[in-house]
């Protein structure tokens, strides 16, 4: 009856051989192809370095002005702009400017990459049920797999630093934009699509002029969630050598520096709120604009 209480598992030797085989295979793969994969990511790395240099080398008043202008253009809301400027001034005053700029640069690149990659995937998913049934489980894996499980292989392939950090952040942050693009397009009213077909619009026109505009509010919610999740990964990314606000947080965790952790944690929250309010306000404004055109 022992098999009832002890699960009849694979015997230890074969299990060990299996694990060793997988590990050995991966090692061989990194040895063989690591250089090529690293070279493939070279442009992305240059972009990341350029973006960080830009944020760090530009004088701080210009950066604040730039961010204020961007928030104004996006939101047209004085309160958000003022709040943004005050947050940034406070961050600078508490000597977290450099780390914050590195984090903003990282989040910016991650968000751009997520949007560029995520929206086409979302659109493709909305058009094919079969693709949707393949992509959905992959997204589930991406959102639930503990980051370190895939971080270590990535570090072995690409070393530590920005690119593996970027990959980790994008893997975690891209699912909302894909899911919500898919959902937004699928939720567009059938009658509207019929009308578009009746006017003889091509598939591309239908997508560009009807489905995308109507799905935009949902997609904006996806982008917003993507940014938030990217920010949540800042600390994890810093564990593989990404500089920014995550590093001092790690230091604080390891040394019980409560105030250091709190300050840097609050700075992350501050950036999150700026990004959140701005992108939401932009999303709302887009809707209004659409209403005016259609109404």
């Amino acid at each position: 009856m022992e098999w009832l209480y002890n699960f009849p598992s694979m015997d230890i030797e074969s299990l060990r051989a299996l694990k060793k085989g997988i590990d050995g295979g991966f090692r061989g793969f990194t040895r063989e192809y690591g250089v090529y994969i690293e070279n493939a990511f070279e442009p992305l790395k240059q972009f990341l370095i350029w973006s960080e240099r830009f944020m760090l080398d530009t004088p701080w008043p210009l950066i604040i002005l730039l961010i204020a202008v961007i928030t104004w253009v996006a939101s047209r809301n004085k309160r958000i702009v003022i709040g943004t400027v005050i947050t940034l001034l406070l961050i600078g005053y508490f000597d977290m400017w450099e780390d914050t700029m590195q984090t903003i640069s990282m989040i910016f690149v991650c968000t751009v990459l997520s949007i560029v990659v995520g929206i086409p995937i979302g659109i493709a998913m909305s058009r094919s049920d079969r693709l949707q049934s393949v992509v959905n489980p992959i997204l589930d894996v991406m959102q639930t797999m503990p980051s370190f499980v895939y971080l270590i292989p990535v570090v072995m392939l690409l070393g530590i630093g920005k690119v593996p950090g970027l990959i980790a952040v994008v893997i975690y942050a891209i699912p909302p934009i894909i899911r919500l693009t898919n959902l937004g397009i699928r939720l567009v009213d059938k009658d509207v699509l019929e009308a578009a077909d009746a006017f003889g619009s091509s598939s591309w026109q239908r997508l560009k002029n009807v489905q995308m505009p109507l799905a935009l509010p949902t997609m904006m919610a996806g982008i917003n969630q993507t940014i938030m999740m990217a920010l949540a990964m800042v600390v994890v990314a810093s564990m593989i050598g990404v500089r920014g606000l995550g590093q001092p947080v790690l230091q604080a965790i390891n040394n019980q520096y409560f105030s250091l952790g709190l300050f840097n944690g609050l700075a992350i929250v501050g950036i999150a709120i700026i990004f959140d309010r701005t992108s939401q306000a932009y999303g709302k404004r887009l809707q209004k604009y659409q209403e005016v055109v259609h109404g």
Binding site: L157, I160, N254
Partner: protein, 332 residues
């Protein structure tokens, strides 16, 4: 029949007494299992020996140097930290020992921990002129930085570890920046290990902080660079170990003392189990060989501990009385 009942009663009774006695002697004990391999295996050895040999109810709790030490110091739990690198916590530990809250038991690693700056052995073989940190810093091109090809890289210790401050100060002291090096934040032990694994998978250069005994140094052959100077304790305390010290000078790591730390409660309650903890020690060669066995076989700390107890009887039977040794052997 009567005899059988009597003898079985007697046996049960004796077992009961024996259990009660050993439970009285030892009772519950929590052992901190630190999150690095050498400490993990020692914690598991302690758990096995305390449970099987001394009848303790030994439980492992995971930990890390600072959180575990703080918890032991403030809350008196966990009871035992088998492998505490005391350089990181020297001052508060001395205070706690003076006040009788914590006790220093055995020196777990008899030849201590070795820390320093290391390069891969194949780089050292290809460039036999590189012996010291200064020699290595003459060659930034051999140790390329991950994000700037024109610079060399010194891989720093993980964020928040004590060695991060030390390495940063030494980086300044040796003038590494002027010699074309960047100090690379590795973030975590996993990041640091990953960077080494990557370098070895490409036969590339690597220069940075590491320490022994570790499975990484068992698995990847590395060469420890000479500091070029002797350990200077006054200078170390004045500047090398101080965050953002203005004028650090080159200095060498001393042997790190690695001790078992026990709370006052367990010292009093543990009885002979405490004597065991005050007695057992092993050396780096043993630990390195165990760690590389574990890595080769993807073994957990518990597997490693069992492997050690089965294969290195000569070492561990010296730590305990023959009766305890017999009990432990019987349980394997």
């Amino acid at each position: 029949m009567k005899k059988l009942i009597a003898s079985s009663l007697l046996a049960t009774g004796m077992m009961f007494i024996a259990n009660a006695a050993s439970a009285e002697e030892c009772g519950d004990v929590t052992i901190a299992q630190m999150n690095w391999q050498s400490a993990e295996i020692l914690a598991n050895v302690d758990q096995l020996i305390l449970t099987e040999g001394y009848g303790c109810k030994a439980e492992l709790v995971s930990g890390d140097t600072m959180p575990t030490f703080t918890s032991m110091n403030e809350k008196g739990a966990p009871d035992v930290a088998p492998e505490l690198w005391i350089n990181a916590v020297r001052e508060p530990l001395e205070a706690a020992v003076a006040e009788g809250r914590l006790h220093i038991a055995a020196e777990s690693l008899s030849d201590g921990g070795v820390e320093g700056w290391w390069i891969p052995q194949y780089v050292a073989d290809a460039h036999p002129e590189i012996k010291t940190i200064d020699d290595a810093l003459m060659h930034p091109e051999l140790f390329p930085a991950p994000e700037d090809d024109t610079k060399g890289a010194v891989y720093n210790c993980p964020s928040g570890w004590n060695c991060q401050i030390l390495t940063a100060n030494l980086f300044k002291a040796y003038g590494a920046e002027e010699k074309g090096f960047n100090l690379i934040d590795t973030g975590s032990a996993a990041g640091l290990d990953g960077s080494i694994a990557k370098a070895f998978s490409r036969d590339a250069g690597w220069l940075g902080y590491y320490w022994a005994p570790t499975n990484i140094l068992g698995k990847y052959k590395m060469f420890k660079l000479d500091a070029g100077v002797k350990h200077d304790k006054t200078e170390w305390d004045r500047c090398t170990a101080v965050l953002d010290c203005a004028d650090p000078k080159p200095n060498a790591w001393s042997k790190s003392e690695v001790y078992t730390i026990v709370t006052d409660r367990f010292k009093k309650a543990g009885g002979p189990a405490y004597d065991y903890l005050a007695n057992r020690a092993w050396d780096n060669a043993t630990v390195n060989s165990l760690l590389s066995w574990m890595t080769d076989n993807q073994a957990t700390g518990e597997d490693g501990a069992r492997y050690f107890l089965e294969n290195h009887e000569a070492i561990w039977t010296k730590w305990v009385t023959p009766e305890v040794a017999a009990k432990v052997k019987a349980s394997l």
